[in-house]
Symmetry: C2
């Protein structure tokens, strides 16, 4: 549920501005994007309601936090044991995320650990799950392309959904009060 129409240019502009000026408030955003403060508030609320914006996390760099080793593990699991595996994975703190994928009931998960030894231990924990038949893992050496979503969203941005929004994008706007 919730994926309706694509975002428009204003939405993406807001998202971008929000990403750059980390702690910008509505007023600040309205200045940056050149729309009224109330509009900013409304758009953000809509984005959150639509589930597009799921939070404002702090983004944590696990590597900087002392967990410099990351690996991607492919699990081959027993038929219909997804639920069991899910539970087991959730119980292991080292598992950062996991996805069910196409293939022979495969699961791809990402784990982090403090060191190679700790990683080894985590992998052992993974295999302890009775539903896991086999596992193969590759260690991440470096981050080639850091996580990003804006480039993709930009490709989907309709010129301007709102009727008058951003019409005079370049013109000096007299903001609120």
């Amino acid at each position: 549920m919730a994926d309706r129409r694509a975002l428009d240019a204003l939405d993406v502009a807001l998202l971008t501005a929000l990403r750059e000026h980390r702690r910008a408030g509505d007023l600040e955003l309205s200045r940056i994007t050149g729309v009224a403060r109330a509009t900013v508030t409304a758009r953000l609320e809509r984005l959150e309601a639509a589930g597009v914006v799921t939070g404002y996390g702090p983004d944590v760099d696990v590597s900087a936090a002392g967990f410099g080793v990351q690996a991607f593990v492919t699990l081959e699991i027993a038929q219909g044991a997804i639920d069991a595996v899910t539970r087991d994975l959730e119980a292991i703190p080292g598992v950062l995320e996991a996805h069910a994928t196409t293939g022979v009931g495969d699961v791809l998960c990402r784990v982090a650990a403090r060191s190679h030894e700790a990683l080894q231990q985590t992998l052992v924990d993974l295999n302890r799950s009775s539903a896991v038949v086999r596992s193969t893992s590759v260690v991440a050496l470096s981050e080639i392309v850091p996580w990003r979503t804006l480039p993709l969203l930009e490709t989907a941005a309709a010129p301007s959904a709102g009727r008058s929004a951003m019409r005079r994008a370049g013109a000096p706007v007299t903001p609120d009060r």
Copy 2:
């Protein structure tokens, strides 16, 4: 650089509180965690300076934004062509992230697309890179364990690094002002 000592309980508490009360300010956080406002400010600044906190979202659900198809692609690339591949990958909006991994000069990347057809197209774009020798991909069916980092950080949280921090965690604290 930057990965020094592990976080302490207060740091994790702050991170957790920030994650839940999305738009909480310093004052709000100080109430939640029971420390002085100035302390909250200082800790967060330190976390950012240490590179542990790299930003404050917004966290975008690409699926909700209309890109419901995600896949993990393993690329086998030509010797020493990492740089070239990096550039090519960055140029493709559909690439959400990419890591160099152990193996025969492999790269694991994650791509998102609006539909299976669009994904196909993105994969074609990937293979267009002259440095890519071969690629295999698995489609993500569902998110078993959604992205998380706090469970891991909690395992590393020293009881309380700051000398007096959180000493009377339960006691009613008279906050700022």
